[in-house]
Each structure stands twice: as C-alpha cells, then as structure tokens.
Symmetry: C2
Subunit: 217 residues, 2 copies
C-alpha cells in the first residue's frame, strides 16, 4: 500500500506540486472514502464526464452499468480518466485571490477491460455490495443469469494515478494579515442520515446493521 | 428559465429516458446547488477529468484557474463536458440488481472561451465570490492587476445541456416484495459545519453572516 506510483506526464503536477501524492495508500483512501466518481472518456471525438459508482478491490478499480449502454461501450479498452473528489472546506481569505477550497481528489488514468466471465462478474458485484453494506449479499435474492448478463463491469488496474490534496486552510499574503477582514474556513462533509425503510417491507423485518453503518468522507 | 434545451445526440438519454430533463430551470438548480464540478477535456489524446469550482451567471457557466496551468489552456475553444453531481441516497433493494443511488446531475457540452478583458475578468470573479458569500467582495483587499492577469477564466454558454435525476427510492421486481429482506434508502447530503475563524484574524473582528450562510445541495 505504501508502494510509490510512477509519476508520468499525465499525473505530474505542474502547478502546486506540494499538493500531489503518489503513493497507493493516499490514493486508495480517497477512493474508499467516496463511491461517487466521474469517469471521462471520448465519444465520437468529444469528452464525456459520467458520474457513476466506483469500487476498489486490491489494485483495481471497477465501475458498472447497463451492458446495452453506450457509456461503458465507449470506454472499453480506450483511454479513460476516473476522478474521485471530496470537498472538505471553503476557504475565505482576505483577498479574492486566496479564496480556495480544501479538498482531496484522486485521478486514475488507464484503459479499462470489460469483465467477460459471469462468475467473475458476480464476484465483483458482490464486492461492490459488500464494500458498501457488509453482510448484505447473502441476504439478497440471488442474481439471475440474465441479470449478470445485462450488467457490464469495467475493470482498470491502478497503475497511473495520483492524489491531489489541499488541506491548508487560509493562506494569505503576509501583508494582508494586518487587515481587519474576517478570514476562516467553512468545513463541509457528506452526512449520512437515518435509513428510511421501504413502506413495502414485510412486517417484522429488522433493519440490518449495514443500513446504518455507511460511512463517507 | 423554463426554456427547453435542445436534445442532441450527446444529451439524449438512451437508457432510462425518464431520468432526463431538458429545461434550464432543472439544469440551473443543480449547478446552483453544488459549486464542485468535474470538467472533462482531451489533452494530447487522453481524456482528463479535473475537479474544479464552477459558477453560473445567466445562461453561462464559468470556471477558473491559474493562467499558467495546462488544464485550462487545453480546454480553451475545445470540446469539453462539465458535469455537476449530487448524491442524494443509497438505495438498498431486495436484489443486487436493483440496488442503486438517487442523485441529481447536470452535464453541459460546449467549447469554452477564455475571457480576455481584465474588467470583465474581475467582474466574473466578483460574481463567484458573491455567489458563495453574498456581500464579501467589497470587504476584501481589492484584486491587483497582476492577480487578475494570473487568473484565467473560462466562459461557456449553456446551450447543449441536460439533467439526469433519479429520485425513485426502492424499485424492486414485483415478485421480490414478498421476500423477508429489509429494503430502504440511506439518504446522504452535504452538511455545512460551523465556520472556523483564522487564528490570525485581527482581534475584535466579527464573523460576517455570509460565512455561516453557505448552502449546498
């Protein structure tokens, strides 16, 4: 996990290089903190940025969708960029210039493969469910062959990746600290609220612990 | 605001067309609810998905960065896709297949222009500051000519755009409702926490209202 990731022309930071991190532990912590990601691919010459849910298993990242959808088809074996971002704070400085946000983001470049084997696909979907809701998979109505077939899963090795983190709060020009201007940070976070049971649940069913243990951020 | 947006090959939804919305009011509400966006552009043949802060004024969306950075340079007058996404709920169904998330997202395609005029640039940066922190601009140390010069601002008309919204909660196969499986939703939201004053603030400075009025989501 502390293996360094290679710094490539695509992952090297030209601006603010002190914000960059190139170790797997830092990148993986960001991926694991937020399932929402944005996948960029090129469709008929135009970039498309698609929000979707990602999950990680070891040194691979996965996302999925309809086998019939054009988004996944366009990404298979093509260059993509998968980005996960967490907004942590708004930074209010004494000059407009130094307003900023604190954040954590991870960016992965690569060419995803489509998983073909039905058993491997089911195993990866189990991994997705279990990563969000530990213990849930075995409680569910089992997947049908047709459902597995209708789901496309893309797999991408995490080989060319970087994290970018700003966690500095207010940093003003030295001369501006003497000004009578309020500066500070407004922290934000993803809040997980109380689960809401489906009104059509069978009577007497207890809410499993995994419904109230989702953690983000 | 209720003007329809044209449905183009890039914005038409092939899958789940009932999730699509093509009116400005819906798209603008999503942009205005979340300044964090992901901009996709093509750099030397590869897609790059960059998290950044967007703001809207009328029928244009803006983002900014260092005038020296390669990210903005690569996007100027090129095809980009700007996406804003809000995760609203995790949906726990009775089968793996129907697990989902409720969300709101907006996607804008276009070719951004770089704003050249320094006064127009300053006006747009004022709009950014004021959209997040009403009344703050006039309290700040004024921007210098050099700061305006060092900041690049991209402007893109909102002409080809769509929203995609899932807000349905649990939708299971009819036969599965009879199963003794807990189903429900776990709502999530961006929470804005108490502002934290910079320890280097001058003594006796009151916190302005705009520091505690940030709203997201």
């Amino acid at each position: 996990m502390t293996d360094p990731l290679p710094i490539t022309p695509r992952t090297r930071l030209r601006r603010a290089p002190q914000r960059g991190a190139f170790d797997r532990a830092t990148v993986y912590a960001i991926l694991d903190a937020m399932p929402l990601c944005h996948v960029g691919y090129v469709l008929e010459g135009s970039p498309v940025v698609m929000p979707t849910i990602q999950w990680r298993e070891g040194d691979h990242v996965y996302w999925h969708g309809s086998a019939a959808g054009r988004g996944l088809k366009a990404a298979v074996e093509q260059e993509v960029c998968l980005t996960v971002s967490l907004l942590d704070s708004f930074v209010l400085a004494r000059s407009a210039m130094h307003h900023s946000v604190d954040y954590r983001s991870a960016m992965i470049f690569g060419r995803p493969l489509k998983i073909q084997d039905p058993d491997e696909k089911a195993a990866k979907l189990k991994c997705l469910i279990e990563s969000l809701y530990p213990g849930r998979w075995d409680l569910l109505r089992p997947m049908t062959e047709q459902e597995v077939k209708a789901t496309a899963i893309l797999s991408m090795p995490i080989e060319e990746a970087s994290a970018k983190i700003r966690q500095r709060g207010v940093v003003d020009d030295e001369a501006d600290y003497a000004r009578p201007i309020w500066a500070g940070v407004v922290p934000v976070r993803m809040q997980v609220l109380e689960p809401q049971a489906d009104p059509r649940n069978q009577q007497g069913i207890n809410r499993p612990d995994h419904a109230s243990s989702v953690e983000l951020g």
